[in-house]
């Protein structure tokens, strides 16, 4: 293992040099007293710094960059408030297993623990929401520390890693070693796939008469799209996904049923209780996906494939689990299947049943019954008509996100970027910026709620100044719509703290930032504005006023089982 030395350089220069060695081209952040040396070194580095308006947004940008590319996104903040502002963004990345390296400045070592100006124990604050944290205590430790951060953030089950660097360490001038590669003792992100388990899985899959396959975020993380699709097609087994796994299988494919969960597709929520075998890949059986754990898919045998062994039997007892990288495991499972069977026929009782349920569900109120010209489902479908397949869609959190879950079709890998584990309002716009930086050649659209948008709207300043042409669509119901829905359905229409007034005027707000902006009142206008928006080389905002009374269905109420999914507005209260 080679080690190169750079002579007489500062710790801050070592930070930047290590980033270059890790092929980092962009960092998102904000400077301050404790990271000034790093910012000074950045200036001569060739690395582009994108100035956020709030460190939370910088973290979301880095997170989305990571989700789109699979490489760690980098964000930076100063000590104290800079670091604490990163917290929501880092927790969001942690909850969705997204690779991020966060670099914070820290007060000089000699001031540590003395309540120095802008001192926060950021490692203490972030330990529960990071995969690891590293604090180099001398400049010599910087390259190996940062390389470890990248390795840990991107390997196994990815996650954010914090590197907290005291200012005096950034300023030390030394001969600094740059190891070619690093090792983290005791950390084994990859294991040999158990060949016997693979054979058993193949046996179970071949025997199953009503197999169903479930894809989660792990498919994206390990780029397992191809073997995932191959296994499904070989078995002719239909596919459901989690919300994070949406798009792990092309959503236009005849075998794709779509997401399950609190606002999953009705077909998926129904059929998961009818299969006799569920093979779940890269999922964690979160309560938002499964409803009551004990009722979920209890009639079936379950195979669980995941990189993280602590997920096995955590929420759901399974019959067989296989630890490993989804891509590797699925490739082996495919080979084991291909030795046993050839491509199954597309006519059998299970597929007939699937077709029947699909037909029945076509007419549920959730899919057909919305009165207004601009209702969520219609907007989302219009959007799919207008936007090319490779478009990356990001979202805020709320009803608008759930309309996408149900009605948006993800056609290409890594084009669906949304906060599911933490459900962080304010994710959409900065995530769109991070995604556009990663993929400047594809359209990037933030489909947002007014409440979510307002949380990080100042990122428009970043988009305009840095010339990052994204489009934000604001589904503007002047309300925290999702919460309003819960209050309507579960709190007897007692609306508490959910209604906004008329402030702000989003068109004027966007224009004040220098973005182009339109308010639309018909679907046709919306379609036109969107087409125009993605053709611009500057950011655009489309304000879409909607009624706050159109709720999102299907809906599996919290604390209920997936069999109690409600498929239409409460006047119908139609359950399966």
């Amino acid at each position: 293992m080679g080690v190169d030395f750079m002579h007489e350089i500062s710790g801050a220069q070592a930070v930047v040099e290590t980033l270059r060695q890790e092929h980092v081209k962009y960092v998102f952040g904000m400077p301050g007293g404790a990271n000034l040396p790093i910012y000074d070194a950045l200036l001569d580095s060739g690395i582009r710094h994108i100035l956020a308006r709030h460190e939370q947004s910088a973290a979301h940008m880095a997170d989305a960059f990571g989700r789109v590319t699979g490489r760690a996104g980098v964000c930076m903040g100063t000590s104290g408030p800079g670091a604490t502002n990163l917290v929501t963004g880092i927790a969001t990345a942690y909850a969705d297993s997204s690779p991020v390296v966060a670099i914070t400045g820290q007060v000089p070592k000699a001031m540590t623990g003395r309540n120095a100006f802008q001192e926060t124990d950021v490692i203490g604050v972030m330990t529960p929401i990071t995969k690891y944290s590293i604090q180099p205590l001398s400049a010599e430790e910087i390259p190996s520390g940062i390389k470890k951060a990248f390795y840990i953030a991107t390997s196994g089950r990815p996650g954010p890693v914090l590197v907290d660097i005291p200012k005096d360490v950034q300023q030390e001038v030394r001969d600094i070693p740059f190891p070619e590669s690093v090792e983290v003792r005791g950390y084994r992100p990859y294991v040999e796939v158990d060949p016997l388990a693979v054979e058993r899985a193949a046996e179970m899959l071949v025997k199953a008469e009503k197999p169903l396959i479930m894809g989660g975020g792990g498919i994206r993380i390990s780029n397992a799209y191809e073997p995932f699709q191959a296994v499904s097609e070989l078995l002719m087994a239909p596919v459901i996904t989690t919300l994070q796994g949406k798009g792990s299988f092309p959503e236009g494919h005849p075998l794709c049923l779509g997401p399950i969960g609190m606002h999953g597709r009705a077909e998926s929520n129904k059929l998961v209780s009818e299969c006799d075998l569920l093979m779940a890949v890269g999922v964690r059986f979160s309560d938002r996906s499964t409803g009551t754990f004990s009722e979920f898919c209890k009639q079936a045998k379950i195979i669980h494939i995941d990189a993280d062994p602590s997920e096995f039997n955590k929420n759901k007892q399974v019959d067989l689990y296989i630890r490993g990288d989804a891509n590797q495991v699925l490739t082996k499972v495919y080979n084991a299947l291909a030795r046993r069977i050839s491509r199954r026929s597309d006519s059998n009782p299970w597929l007939a049943r699937i077709a029947q349920v699909r037909e029945e569900m076509k007419s549920i109120p959730a899919y057909t019954d919305y009165d207004s010209e601009l209702s969520g489902p219609k907007i989302v479908r219009k959007m799919r008509e207008v936007l090319p397949p490779q478009t990356i869609l990001t979202t805020g959190v709320g009803r608008h996100q759930m309309w996408c879950e149900i009605h948006w079709r993800v056609l290409k890998p890594r084009t669906w970027i949304t906060s599911t584990g933490l459900g962080t309002m304010g994710f959409g716009l900065p995530a769109a910026i991070g995604a556009k930086v990663a993929k400047p050649d594809v359209p990037v659209v933030d489909f947002d709620g007014d409440g979510s948008f307002m949380m990080t709207e100042n990122s428009l300043g970043t988009a305009v100044d840095e010339k990052i042409p994204i489009v934000s669509i604001i589904v503007n119901d002047r309300s925290l719509g999702m919460v309003e829905q819960w209050q309507r359905l579960m709190y007897n229409r007692r609306f508490s703290g959910v209604k906004f007034g008329n402030s702000p005027d989003f068109v004027k707000l966007a224009e004040a930032y220098g973005a182009s902006a339109k308010r639309v009142t018909t679907l046709e206008e919306f379609g036109k504005a969107l087409k125009e928006g993605i053709s611009l080389d500057s950011p655009a905002v489309i304000d879409v006023p909607v009624s706050s009374e159109e709720d999102v269905f299907p809906f599996m109420p919290p604390g209920k089982s997936i069999k109690e999914t409600v498929v239409g507005p409460p006047k119908e209260m139609a359950i399966f």
Partner: protein
Amino acid sequence: MTALKILSVLVENKPGTLFRVTHMIRLMRLNIEGLTCGVTNGGDRSRITMTVNGDDATLDFLAKQLSKVIDVYEAQTYSPEEVTARELALIKLNLSSVSHLDDRRLQGARIVETSDRSITIEVIGSPAEIDRFIHRFDSTQILELARTGTTAVPKG
């Protein structure tokens, strides 16, 4: 059903590791009844041994979560019967309460310090033996008491 369990965690011997480990235990809302920590052979690793009260499922899950912590090599839970466990107690007794140094209640202990008003003894044994030893005295006779908490290795 909750019961006392021994949690044995082999970790990297460096700053912050104990914090990462105890954070997970706090997250699972468990109380640490006893905790010992010391370097193991080689010196660059430490073994943390904790006694916690919890149900099997919670502790299994905790061990899996701990195994995931980057600086943790391995984490295992054991029931008390599965390990050889030892604990040390230092007990400072009011001298007036032990009339003579061959008091039968001192049997099994080692006298490690005496002064004109107190006598400090050391007892080593399984946690239950230590409990029983302490019960030989009433609380007015004990001036101070310190127990190390259990350290343990699996049997066999």
